[in-house]
Symmetry: D2
Subunit: 410 residues, 4 copies
C-alpha cells in the first residue's frame, strides 16, 4: 500500500463552540478535500469557556486539543489563524490581540458591537498587515452562497444594468412565540444589537457587495415586540422551550428592524429583518431590479437564482430559475454534477477556501475589516435614525486609514 | 318557446373609456349573470371626451348609448348609478354633482388627488345619504380578490393572531424602459401622484382592510428615476413605444415610493410601490405575520393564498398553498368547480355585486368615501414625510363628519 | 345621446344547462365585447331537459328564450349555431340533426362515446360542409389557454427542437372521498368512459396539438378504485355530499387511467388522468422536452408557461416563468395590461372567437370533427390496451373521408 | 492544552474513485462529526484502477493510503468495511469476496447488473451474516433525504391513508445534446442498463420504501434516442464535450424508460426516467396520493416536502411546503438550526450513520441485499415488458433464502 503525504499545514485556533463554531469547524475540516488549496488547514485547538462543552466540540470535529484560555492559545507559537466565533462584545479584544501576535484572523460578523470598536479593529488589521503580513477577514458567509456570488457576477457583467431597486428581507421566526427562551443574542451588552446586527447585517453586506454600491443614508425603525423572555439556563443553539413559570429576562435588543436606504448610485433600498416572521425559518431574500434585468433570491432555496433578462425576445420574457449547481457557477465545480445542490455549511467551506488562498497571496481576503466596518457604520446609521424619529440619516464616512488611503491612490 | 323576463333594472352611467372603464363595463354586464342580485344592472350610457372612442366603447360593451357630456347625463333622470373611471383630478367634481343629483356613486381610487377634495367628497356623500339614501363606494378592487378576502377572513377568525408584520410590495415594470411613453398617469395635475396613488394606494387599502387595523404614521421616501418621457399622442392603455426623436414631457410624479409604517396595534409595516421593477408586470404582494399564523399573496397568482398555521403539528408545519376557488371561499361559489381559477376582471364583477347589494340595503358599500379618505390621508402623510427628510409623520386624524360620528355612537 | 347599433347577428341555440352549458353561455355573451368579430353572437335559446332549471339558466344568461325540445329548436329556422353541451351519449344524434339542418355546430368533447359514432359525425360534418358550408368544431377548450397556444407557437418556431418527451397529467380529486356522490359522469352508458374521456381526452388533444405530432400507439392501464357511490338525486355540478345511508350506485367507468404512448416522430409520451389525486383540484399539467428547449405548464397557474431555452448562455440557463398576459401572446392583447391574468371561462370565450371567425371564413374551425375523431381513436386504443394486458396497441388509422382525402391532395 | 482521544475505529476500504467514490469518501469523513456513532469511521484505503487518480483521491480525502488491488486490500486484515462504488458489472465479485472475508459491505446501487447476480449476492450476504455477523447494505442513498424519510414517516403514521397513486419521474438532461460524450454508463456490459438502472432504480426503491408497498407488475417501454456518442478518452464525471470529429461509440443502453406499475395494495404507479429531459439537471420527483393526504417532492428542492392533509378545515386546505430542516425531522437535528438546508452529499453521510449503527447492532442495515435484489427484479420485469410489446409483466417472486424465510417466521 502507498501512503498519502500531508501538505503544508495551516494551523487554526477556533474560538467559540456554539452554532457558528461548529459550522466553522466543519469548514476547516472540509475545504481542502474539495478545493485545491495552497495550504492544508488543521484544526489545532478549540477554545471555549465551558471545559466540558469545549472538549466535546474539539472531539466532535477531531481537533488536536482544546482550551478555555484564548490568550494562552495565542501565545503558543504554533497557531497560524485565529477564527473568532464568539459573541460580538469580545471580537475587538480577541482580534486585536491575535493581530498583534502576527496571526491571521477570521472574525464572525458583525465585526464589532459599535463603530468605535470596529474602527479600532481596522487600525489593528492595517498595522498587522504592514508589520507581519497578517490577513484579516470578516465572516459575511452569505457572500459565499453560489447563487449570490452569481448575482454579483451578473451585476458586474452588466446583465442587470443600472440598478434602481434593492429589496432585502431577512425573515426568521424563532422568536415568534412570546415564550421562546432568552439567549445572549437578546442582550445588548453581548450582542450589540438584536436582529439588526445578527441578520440585518447580512442583508446590508449582501446588498452592497452584489451591487458594488454603497448605502449612503437610511431612514429606519426598530421594534421589540416581546419585552421579556423566560430563562433556560445555558442556551447554546436557537430554539428550545422554557419550563412553566421560569424567570424572565428583559430583552434589550430589537426584535425587528426596517429601513429604506439610498445608495450612492441613486438606487432605492428597502430592508427588513425580523425574528418574528411566523412561518419563515430562515428566509434571507434579496431582489434587485435594474434597467436591463433583475435577480431574486431566497435562501430557503439557496441553490436557485431567479434571473430576468429584459433583452429576451418579447413574448418569451420571464424570470429564469437557474439551478446554481453547474461547472460555470461560482464554487460549484468543486462539488457534484449539475443539479446536485449544496447546503448551508458549504458557505463556510467556501469562506475558508477564499481565506486560505488570500493568506497564500492568491486574491484578497474579502470583506476585510475596513469593509466590514462599513457595514457597522450602516448599522449605526440605522440605530441613529430609529432613535431620531426615522429621519434620513447619512452613513458616516469612513475615517482615513492606511488601507483605505491605499485604495484611493492611482 | 318560452321567453325570459327582465328583472328590476339598475341603470348605470359609466364615465371613462380607458383601461378602467372597460373593466367596469364588463363587470356591469356580468355580475347578474353569476350572482343572484336584487337589481339587474343595465349599462345605459358610456361617457367620454373623445366621441369616436366613446362610441366605440359603448358599442363594444353593448351600452344603450354614449355621450361626451357627463353633466347632461346626470340630468337625464333615468340614471341610478354613476360609475367614475376618470383620472383623479375630476373625481370630486363629478362625484359631488352625482350625489347632489341623488345618484349612487362608484368612484375609482384613489378617491381624489388630495385630502381636502376627498373630505369634501365625504361630506357630499354623507349629505346625499341623508337626503336621498344615495350609496357611495370607492373602487379598491383588490378587496374583491377571493384570496385577499380569504386573508381578511382568516385574520377575523383569529387564525393569524396578533399581527406583528405587514409587508406589501406593488411591483410593476411598464416604466422600466426610460423610453416608455408619457401618459396622463405621469402628470401630477391629473393623477395627483404617481406610483403612490396609483398602486401604492391599493397596498395601503389592502393592508388596512385585511388587518382591520389603521396605519397611524409613516416614514417615507419617493423617487423619480426617469425625469422625461417621449410623447405618443393620445395614450389610452399602458405600454406602447414612441417614435425616435419624439418630444419628451417632464414627469411630475414619483416613479417609486417606499415607506415604513406603524399600525395602531403596534404592528410594523413595510411598503414599496414602483413601476420600474424590471421583470414584474403586476406583482401586487402582501405578507402578514402574526403570532398564530401568517399569510402571503402575490397577484400574479391571484387564485392562491399561502397560509401558515403555527398550530399545525411540529414537523408538519409549512405554508399551505390554498387554491382559492372553492365553494367555501369568498365569491367563488358563483363561478366554476374548485380548481378553475378566476381572472383580473372578476374583481370588478365582485365589486359590482357588493355595490348592487348595498344599494338594495343588503350590506354596506365598502369602502365608503370616509374610509377611502382615510387612505388619502395615509397618502398625504407619505408625501409629507418624503418631503421632510423621511421623518416619521403621523397620519392626520379624520375630521368629525356625520358618518364618522355615527360609527362611534353606541 | 347617441345610440349604439347592433351588428350582424349570429344566433345560437345552447343545448345543456350544466357546468359546461354555463361556461359556454358566458362565452357567447362576452366574445364580441373584447374581440372584433365579423358577426355578433346572440344567445337565442337555451335547451335542457328540466323546464325549471332551463328557464333559470336562460334568464341567468339573458337568452331570449328556452325550450326542452331540441328538435323543435333546430326546426325554428332562426338559428345559426347549435352548441352541444350535453353528455356524450347524445352528441352524435344532436350534431347530425343540426348539420343536416344546415346549422353550424360546436360540440363538447369528447366528440362521442365511441369511434363509430365519432366517424359517423365526421361523415355528417363533411356532408354538411359540402352541402351548406356548415362549420363544425369540437370543444377542446384547453387549446384556447393562452399559455398552451404559446407552447404550440414555440414548438412551431423551432424553439423546442426535436421533441423527445411529452408527459401529461390531468389530476383532479373530486372523487377522492369514497363517499363523493354519484353523477352521470360515472355511468358508462352516458359518459362513454370516465376519467379517460372526460379529462384524459384533454391531455391527448393538447399533446397532439402542441407538438403537431400524432400518437400512434399506446400501452394502457385503467382502474376503478371506488366501486359504488351514494346517490344524491339530480346532480348538476361536481362535488356535494350524500346523506348517511343513501343508496349507492355502481360506478361503471374508470377512476384513473395511465398510459405510455409512442408518437409518429418517435417521441415518448407518458399520460395519467385521475379524479382521485387528493390535493389536486384541477391540475392539468403538460411538459415537453426537445433537443433545443422545453416547456412546462400547470393549469392551476394558467397564466404562466415555463420555458427553457437550451441556447441561453451557459451558467444562465433555467426555466423562465413567462406570464402569458402580454400583447405578444395569443388572445391576450384583447384583454388587460400585461400581468393581469385571465380565468377559466376565458378559454370558452376564445373558443367562440375562433369559431365565429371560422364561420365567417376567417381561419379553420379547429379541431374539426375529423381531428376530434382522431382523439377518439386514441381513447379507443387506450381502452383496448387496458383490456389486453396493457399490450402496445396501435391507434387505428382514420378511415378515408372526403375531408381527410382533401388534406392529402397536393 | 488538553488533547482529544480517538474513539473505537471502524476501518473502511473505499473501492471506486469516481463521482460516487468521492461522495462516499466525504461521508465517511463526516458522519461521526455530527452524529453520535458507536464507532468512528477511518478511511483506511482508497482503491482504484488508475494509480495516479487513486492516489489523488486518497490524498484529497485524507485516506491513509491507496491501492489498485482490491483483493490484496481485502486480505490485509485491518479492514472492517468494504464500500463498493464501482460500475455494476463488478459488484457481485467484490461484494462476495468481501463477505466471504467476513467484512461488512456497502454496495452502490443497483445491486448488480442482473437478477441472477443479485440473488447470488443475497446468498453470500446471508451466509456471511450467519458465519461472521457481517452486515451488508445497498446504497439507495435517496432514502436518506430527510424529506423522503419524512414522507415515509407520514405514510406510516397514516397521514396519507390508503394509497391510490404513485407517480415518480427522474429527469436529467446531461445526454440531451446528441454530442454529449460517451461514458461507461452507456455500455450495457458495464452498466447493466442505462437510465433504468442508474436513476430509474432510485425511483423504484423510493416508491416501495416510502409506501411500504411492493410493485407486483409493470408495463414498460424503453427507448434510445441517440444511437452513438463521441468518445472523450477516460471520462470520470458527467458532462464534458468531445472534440469535433471524435470517434463515436455505440450506445447499448436505454436513454429513457417509462412504465406503469401495479402495487400489491392496488395502488397505481406511473414511472419515468430519462437523461434527455432538457432543462432538468437532476429532478428526482415523487408524488403520492392517498385517501387522507398526499405528498410531493422534487430533489431540486431537496429540503422541502409538500404535504396535503385532507382533514384540514374546508376552505383552508392546500399543499403545505414543509422545510424539512427541523429538530423533529429525520436526520436534521444533528445539523443546523431550522431553515438552514442540507445538500446532496448529506445523503451519503446519513447512509454511513445508519450503516455504522447497524454494524454496532443498533438498527437494521436497510436496504439489505435481499431488498435491493427486489428492486433488481422490478428492473428485470421492466426490461422484459419493454421487449414483449409493453405487456403487463409480473415481477418475479423472490426465491426462498434464509433471510427471507426468517422474515416470515412468527
Amino acid at each position: 500500500m502507498s501512503t498519502t503525504t500531508p501538505r503544508n499545514a495551516l494551523r487554526v485556533a477556533l474560538i467559540g463552540t456554539g452554532f457558528m463554531g461548529r459550522a466553522h469547524a466543519q469548514a476547516w475540516r472540509t475545504a481542502h478535500r474539495f478545493f485545491d488549496l495552497p495550504r492544508e488547514p488543521q484544526l489545532a485547538v478549540v477554545v471555549g469557556r465551558d471545559p466540558e462543552r469545549t472538549a466535546a466540540v474539539a472531539t466532535e470535529f477531531g481537533a488536536e486539543g482544546w482550551s478555555t484560555d484564548w490568550r494562552a492559545v495565542l501565545a503558543r507559537g504554533d497557531i497560524d489563524v485565529v477564527d473568532i466565533c464568539t459573541p460580538g462584545d469580545t471580537h475587538a479584544e480577541i482580534a486585536t490581540a491575535a493581530l498583534e501576535a502576527g496571526l491571521h484572523v477570521l472574525c464572525e460578523k458583525p465585526l464589532a458591537n459599535d463603530v468605535a470598536e470596529a474602527e479600532a479593529m481596522v487600525v489593528a488589521a492595517d498595522a498587522a498587515a504592514a508589520a507581519s503580513g497578517a490577513v484579516s477577514m470578516c465572516g459575511f458567509s452569505y457572500r459565499r452562497t453560489p447563487a449570490l456570488a452569481l448575482a454579483r457576477r451578473f451585476v458586474q457583467e452588466g446583465r442587470i444594468g443600472e440598478i434602481r431597486h434593492v429589496r432585502a428581507q431577512y425573515l426568521q421566526d424563532w422568536l415568534s412565540d412570546p415564550d421562546a427562551p432568552y439567549t445572549w443574542r437578546l442582550d445588548r451588552e453581548r450582542a450589540g444589537s438584536g436582529t439588526l446586527g445578527d441578520i440585518g447585517a447580512h442583508s446590508i453586506d449582501a446588498a452592497q457587495w452584489i451591487t458594488g454600491d454603497a448605502i449612503i443614508g437610511v431612514s429606519a425603525t426598530m421594534q421589540t415586540f416581546v419585552e421579556t423572555r423566560p430563562v433556560l439556563g445555558e442556551q447554546v443553539g436557537l430554539g428550545g422551550r422554557a419550563a412553566e413559570g421560569a424567570a424572565r429576562e428583559r430583552v434589550t435588543v430589537d426584535d425587528a428592524v426596517a429601513f429604506t436606504a439610498r445608495f450612492a448610485s441613486g438606487a432605492m433600498g428597502v430592508f427588513e429583518a425580523t425574528r418574528l416572521a411566523t412561518g419563515h425559518r430562515n428566509s434571507n431574500r434579496i431582489e434587485i431590479n435594474g434597467d436591463r434585468g433583475a435577480i431574486a433570491f431566497d435562501f430557503t432555496r439557496m441553490n436557485e437564482l431567479d434571473y430576468y433578462d429584459a433583452a429576451d425576445d418579447a413574448g418569451a420574457q420571464g424570470f429564469r430559475r437557474i439551478q446554481v449547481t453547474e461547472a460555470e457557477h461560482p464554487y460549484t465545480a468543486a462539488w457534484w454534477p449539475a443539479g446536485h445542490g449544496l447546503g448551508y455549511e458549504h458557505l463556510f467551506t467556501h469562506q475558508v477556501v477564499d481565506l486560505v488562498r488570500a493568506i497564500a497571496g492568491d486574491g484578497a481576503a474579502e470583506p476585510g475589516f475596513a469593509e466590514a466596518a462599513g457595514v457597522q457604520r450602516v448599522l449605526a446609521a440605522v440605530e441613529r435614525s430609529a432613535h431620531d424619529d426615522c429621519r434620513f440619516t447619512p452613513v458616516e464616512p469612513a475615517p482615513t486609514t492606511p488601507s483605505r488611503e491605499k485604495e484611493h491612490l492611482p
